[in-house]
Structures are given as structure tokens and as C-alpha cells.
């Protein structure tokens, strides 16, 4: 048996110094080998270095009761959107019912790969830092494969008030036998996570490792494959709820692997502008703990801010467009999904459904839009406890137009589905933010080639954006 530690405190300075060594020992990958000279690294080589082929991933997931989820056409939601569309408009809306995966979300696809690798490399247990569905996914898969599991959550504010959604995730993790460590608000959670990796010697089931992202490629592949068989074509648009970027990245890569090269991949996030993600007092003033701009924008601007040296989730490489929706619209569409389709899901996973409802109105009725996930719902994470928690915390629940919503002050439920709206994120602005850190760097041709891939831009457009950042 391993040496046990009774210490839960640590020195940030010490952990910072040993960070690379701890991460390396806990992921089973030497990230140094993918580094280029200059600013870049070999992304595709890193993705290929896992030792798993696409077929291996499919097989591993099948064996774990993960994947091959139903793709449901939402006839009533589509008809509802068409009531507000011009004649001939209102795309068919399909939904990939990822809630039927083991543990209730698409995160099981990611966890299945991490757990398989951890088991293969002989680790005794796994650790994941997550307040979301990924914790339940890792815990469930660890249980199935006989590994120990620790989940570290950011959960309480300084008044010991917890987000109900996060309490439910803790319960789910514990139901699968995991140890749950709950922290108060703050990004220092990362050091607790490092300290635990160091002291336990467990595997880092990072959402951002190649395993964590390649597991989602099957999702994109299944969407393309199923639709082609059922409708004779690939979808025009796939919408992914975007936070850390792995969901969108993996889905887009899977669509490409299936041959759906013309399908547009859009991200959607809940708009939480104005709320600080590391603020103790803002923590319980938001009604979404994931799928929001507080993760979506920073992780697009700097994917490598994650818990591994090079993130496999690189959304700007794959994003054809990015939209935000307000909290109230997501709650509204979650209610519509229940009472019109008999599907009680979400709410966070329905962020892209709210965006799809609005986008569908701008697309022809023979076009297809796919919302690529659902998640289980339950006590704490259902939209009713979310709204009642918000009310108890002094947030006003209003009926009106979504533009009136001020995150942290009110939640505006659209007074009609006609008012569900989306706001397009200026991707060039996000790209410029990405480029800012290189504004004083002498960039080589290799660097420029890397950046063009990172930002999915031609060399001409990259040069133009760099010019704007430098002046």
C-alpha cells in the first residue's frame, strides 16, 4: 500500500517548480517530444502518439457501453421554429442523445479512453479536476474497470453555499464509489490537483489530453454516418456547446474522418459576460457552471492554459462560427424540449439547442442542423432547481427579450420563442487575442505556418491580423 499523507496543505511555489515533472509522470506522455523550435508543436503527431486507431477507440467505447447513441429528429421543436420562419425556411433539427451513455453524458466517451490508458499503463487510480459531468464519467468508467478514482471539484463559496448542479455531480461520483474532494472558489484548485497527483501517483484523466479529445471523434463520426444513411446527406451545420473546446474539436475531427468536409461546425456558449470566474462573490450568481463564455473564450484564446502542457482541445482550428445565447433562452428551450418532445435533459447541454432553434430559422427547410449532445438531468441540475437557486440568491427572473439579461443580476426568459436570439462572436477578435502574446516575437516561417493552422487562416489573413495586433 502507498504511503498515506495526512497533509492537505501545500506550497504553491514548490508545486509550480515541480509541475512539469508531476504532469509527465501522471499522463504517460512526454510532451517535450512534440515541441517544435519556436512557438509551435506537432499537434497531429501528438494526437497520433496515443497508440489508438479510430477503430480501437470505437471498440474500447463499445466495450464500455459508450457511444452509438440515438440521433433523434426533433419534429416538434422544428415545427415550433418554423412558426417563426419565412416560407421555405426552418431547418430540420436533430439531436444526438448523448444522455444515454454510461454516466449520462458525452463525457463518457472521453473518460473511456483515459481509463483505458490508465489501466494499460498500470496506474492504481485516476484523478480528474472537474465540477461537471466529466467527474461522473471518470468515476463510472473507473468503477467498471476496477480503478480507484478521485474527483476534485470547485463547489462552495465562502458562505458555504454550493451550486446545486455541482452537488448533484458530487453525488453521482460518490454513487460510483469515487472520493470527491470539494473546494471553495479559486483557481488554486489546480495546485490541489497537482498535489494529489504527486501524493497518490494516480493517472491524470485530463479532459485536454489526446485521449480526452480523441474519444469524442466517434461522436462526430456517428452523426455524419447516421445522417448519411438516413437522409442521404451530411448535415449542413453541427452545433457544439463550447467550454474547454474539446467537445467541438473532437466532433469536428470525427466529422472530417467520416468525410463530412462541407459541414459547418459552430460553437455555442452561454453568455456570462461581466462575471469573474475566480470571484468568490460571483460564483453563485451564475446559473451555468459549464458551457459558458467564462471557459469558452479564454480556452479558445489560450488552449494551453489547461492541466497539460499542450491541450488536445484546439477549438479555433475547427470553429466555423461561434455564437452566444443568454441563460434564459437555454432554460426556455430546455422546458420546450420537455413539454414538446418528452425529453427531460440538460440544461447546460441544451445551450447549442437554443442556438440551433434560432439558426434553423435562417436555414432552408431541406437543410439539417445537428445539436451534438444532451446530458442527463436530475435533482440540483434540472432547470427548475437552477432557477429557484438563482431566485434565492437574489437574481431576478424576468420575461422579456434576451438582450435585457445582465448575467449575475437577472435571467430573462424569452416571452416568446420568437425572441430566442443568438449573438455572433467576432472570431477575428478572438484570434487577435490569441496572437497578442506573440506581438513582440520574431516569428519564423515555421511559426507562421503553425499559427495559420492554429487559427484556421490563410497566410494572408494571418499576416493582416498580426499587423493589427502589432500596431
Amino acid at each position: 500500500m502507498r504511503t498515506m499523507s495526512k497533509q492537505t496543505s501545500y506550497s504553491i511555489a514548490d508545486l509550480t517548480r515541480r509541475k512539469n515533472q508531476i504532469i509527465k509522470a501522471s499522463v504517460g506522455l512526454d510532451y517535450d517530444t512534440y515541441e517544435h523550435e519556436g512557438i509551435g508543436f506537432d499537434y497531429e503527431n501528438m494526437m497520433a502518439s496515443t497508440g489508438y486507431s479510430f477503430e480501437d477507440v470505437q471498440k474500447i467505447q463499445q466495450d464500455s457501453k459508450v457511444g452509438s447513441t440515438p440521433l433523434i429528429e426533433l419534429h416538434n421543436i422544428t415545427a415550433y421554429a418554423r412558426k417563426f420562419s419565412a416560407r421555405g425556411y426552418g431547418a430540420r433539427i436533430f439531436l444526438k442523445d448523448e444522455a444515454v451513455n454510461l454516466s449520462g453524458s458525452f463525457k463518457a466517451r472521453r473518460a473511456a479512453m483515459s481509463i483505458h490508458k490508465a489501466k494499460q499503463l498500470g496506474y492504481e487510480g485516476v484523478i480528474a479536476a472537474t465540477s461537471g459531468n466529466y467527474g461522473a464519467a471518470v468515476a463510472a468508467l473507473a468503477a467498471k474497470h476496477g480503478l480507484k478514482c478521485i474527483v476534485v471539484q470547485e463547489c462552495f463559496d465562502s458562505n458555504n453555499l454550493a451550486q446545486p448542479e455541482i452537488l448533484e455531480k458530487a453525488r453521482a461520483c460518490e454513487a460510483f464509489g469515487a472520493e470527491v474532494i470539494q473546494l471553495s472558489v479559486g483557481p488554486e484548485l489546480f495546485y490541489t490537483f497537482l498535489d494529489l497527483l504527486d501524493k497518490t501517483g494516480y493517472f491524470n484523466a485530463s479532459l485536454y489530453s489526446p485521449y480526452g479529445v480523441m474519444g469524442i471523434e466517434t461522436l462526430g463520426y456517428e452523426i455524419a454516418d447516421t445522417l448519411k444513411k438516413e437522409t442521404g446527406k451530411y448535415p449542413e451545420v453541427v452545433l457544439a456547446t463550447n467550454a474547454g473546446g474539446g467537445n467541438l474539436t473532437g466532433t469536428a475531427r470525427g466529422l472530417q474522418k467520416a468525410g463530412a468536409l462541407d459541414t459547418k461546425v459552430y460553437g455555442a456558449s452561454v453568455n456570462l459576460e461581466g462575471l469573474h470566474m475566480a470571484s468568490d462573490s460571483d460564483f453563485n450568481r451564475k446559473s451555468f457552471t459549464t458551457g459558458h463564455t467564462g471557459f469558452g473564450i479564454p480556452f479558445a484564446v489560450n488552449p494551453d492554459r489547461s492541466d497539460v502542457p499542450r491541450s488536445a482541445a484546439r477549438p479555433l482550428r475547427y470553429m466555423d462560427g461561434y455564437y452566444t445565447v443568454n441563460q434564459g433562452s437555454v432554460f426556455f428551450i430546455t422546458e420546450a424540449l420537455s413539454v414538446l418532445e418528452g425529453l427531460e435533459r440538460g440544461p447546460a447541454g441544451n445551450t447549442s439547442l437554443a442556438a440551433a432553434f434560432r439558426l434553423a430559422r435562417t436555414m432552408r427547410e431541406d437543410e439539417i442542423i445537428v445539436v451534438q449532445e444532451t446530458e442527463y438531468t436530475g435533482a440540483g441540475k434540472h432547470h427548475q432547481p437552477q432557477l429557484s437557486f438563482a431566485k434565492r440568491n437574489g437574481i431576478d427572473i424576468l420575461h422579456g427579450i434576451p438582450e435585457q439579461e445582465i448575467p449575475g443580476k437577472n435571467i430573462v426568459l424569452p416571452k416568446s420563442a420568437a425572441h430566442i436570439s443568438i449573438k455572433e462572436v467576432d472570431l477575428d477578435r478572438v484570434r487577435r487575442s490569441y496572437l497578442k502574446r506573440f506581438k513582440d516575437t520574431e516569428l519564423t516561417d515555421a511559426d507562421l505556418g503553425y499559427l495559420a493552422e492554429e487559427l484556421n487562416l490563410s497566410h494572408e489573413r494571418l499576416e493582416r491580423l498580426l499587423e493589427e495586433v502589432r500596431t
Binding site: M4, Y80, K83, E174, Q182, S279, D280, P385, L398
Partner: protein, 101 residues
């Protein structure tokens, strides 16, 4: 209150004191400690609100202040929310209701 050995409890520790917080966090967060809650089984009998050692679900031994004995789950499906019921009516009316025109 004396809690018997082997009882399932929740302990709390302070990982970082207010002065030790990361310089990158906002002031409101800087001014409060980073706290941590873990559940497990008491290794020896202990007093409620006093320090004790527990063994966690993964077999780790950790020390902290006993805060809660047999901690329950308290989250639920929430209070009745009028505003949500109004949205439901809107949805059903817009979808299935008679047109006003």
C-alpha cells in the same frame, strides 16, 4: 458530541490562508481562505467540530475538522417557480394553441 470510530463524516480543512492565495485571483477571493471538504470514515472516535483522521473512499488518510456526521445529500428539484410555469404555458400556447388572428 462524541462520534464513534468508523462513523462516516465530512471533514473540513483550510488549504490556503487569505494571505497565501494566488496573486491572480480577485480581491474578494484573496480575502477568504481556500477551504476543502472530504468525506470518509473516522479512524478513531472524535468530538464534533474537533480535528480527526478519516479514511476516504480511495483509502487515503486525511486529517481535518469534523463538520458533519453522516452527511446527507440536500440538493433537490427546487421550489416551484412561477416564471417557469409561465414559459411552459407560452410554449404550449405558441405550439398547439389557436392563433389569435
Amino acid at each position: 458530541m462524541l462520534v464513534p470510530k468508523g462513523t462516516y463524516v465530512r471533514i473540513r480543512t483550510h488549504i490556503l490562508k487569505p494571505g497565501e492565495r494566488s496573486e491572480h485571483v480577485p480581491e474578494d477571493t484573496q480575502s477568504v481562505p481556500l477551504k476543502c471538504w472530504i468525506k470518509g470514515w473516522l479512524l478513531e472516535e472524535a468530538e464534533l467540530y474537533e480535528p480527526a483522521d478519516i479514511e476516504t473512499a480511495t483509502g487515503r488518510r486525511v486529517r481535518g475538522t469534523v463538520k458533519e456526521v453522516r452527511p446527507p445529500y440536500r440538493h433537490h428539484f427546487g421550489d416551484y417557480v412561477d416564471e417557469l410555469m409561465l414559459s411552459r404555458k407560452t410554449i404550449l400556447q405558441e405550439m398547439w394553441g389557436e392563433d389569435d388572428e
